[in-house]
Amino acid sequence: MSLVSEGADFRGSLAAGAGIAEPSLATFGDYFALMKPRVMSLVVFTALVGLAVAPGALHPLTGFTALLCIAVGAGAAGALNMWYDADVDAVMIRTSRRPVPMGRIQPGEALAFGLTLAGFAVATLGLLVNWLSASLLAFTIFFYVAVYTIWLKRSTPHNIVIGGAAGAFPPMIGWAATTGSVSVEPILLFLIIFFWTPPHFWALALYRTEDYLRAGIPMLPVVNGDPSTRRQILLYTLILVPLGISPWLFGYAGAMYGATAIVTGAGMVTLAWQVLRERRPVERASRNLFAFSILYLFLLFAVLLVERGWGGLIARLAT
């Protein structure tokens, strides 16, 4: 029996289990875990940056509402992802303790929870902020669940390249919440996260290859092997770093951002080069790149927030 068909059997047993479900023992904490709070925090942070650096006035309560809806929308996408991926989550060490594979929440409950949250988040954002940001949020949830989770994740080694777009939309949604439109600057922020995603996840996949293999997920190291993945990581990093510097080059960000993007970008290239030269079973460079890539993205957006957005936010709160 193949790994993939074993996964299908597990899905069948989960579905059967859902039909004769015991009264649920799921608590508020289980449902909160279903929303992937760590992913949600990154989404909220990047959306906050998009919202804060955008030109124009936005009432603080409207900004809070926009961030709340984006957070809940991200949580809804996470819940729907855990509903569909319960079979593969169960066989991967990293995800086996999630509420659905642990049996604390039934798949049907996760589906209902995700759909309800998604509906409320999109409708509230549309009614209280604007419909462009609500449409972008709806498209992001659809893209993450239908395009990435259901279609790409199990069918192509480029799953996280295309699927990474879902994680790149939040700053654009934040920008649209403030301005009611989309321009070059939020597209640059989108592209930074879009090209950051492959080196970040492939670095993780390099030292979790067995996990993905066991789950039958065709991640790049599983399908194309280690050397190809290491080359792709360097290639995407070489595209990412100039994109990271581009807001400064285009005059959207100041010197502090430019210096940060250059220094941390050099760090990314150095680590990607070390990953290229590393060979199994050594995985130190891959782990370092994975950890540093999180710091890299956080620093870029944090400096942008301090430099461009913070002053604007304070001025808006004061008026």
Partner: protein
């Protein structure tokens, strides 16, 4: 149900209790009751927060909040 439908009249207390037990359906354990209560409270708080959010945002946006292009 009339007396004619029950062969033992009001005397068959045991069978009546069995029927009542069947009608009770699934009996929740204490842990399940606690979990259900925590979920109910969370839903109530979320709905209350939503009502407050819409009320406050209506005040923030002013009377124009209802004036929207069709």
């Amino acid at each position: 149900m009339g007396r004619a439908d029950r062969p033992f009249g009001d005397v068959s207390i045991g069978s009546t209790m069995d029927e009542q037990r069947d009608e009770e359906g699934i009996v929740l354990t204490e842990a399940q009751k606690r979990a259900r209560r925590s979920r109910s409270i969370a839903i109530a708080l979320a709905l209350a927060a939503l009502v407050i959010l819409f009320y406050v945002m209506t005040l923030v946006k002013g009377p124009g909040v209802l004036v929207r292009p069709i």
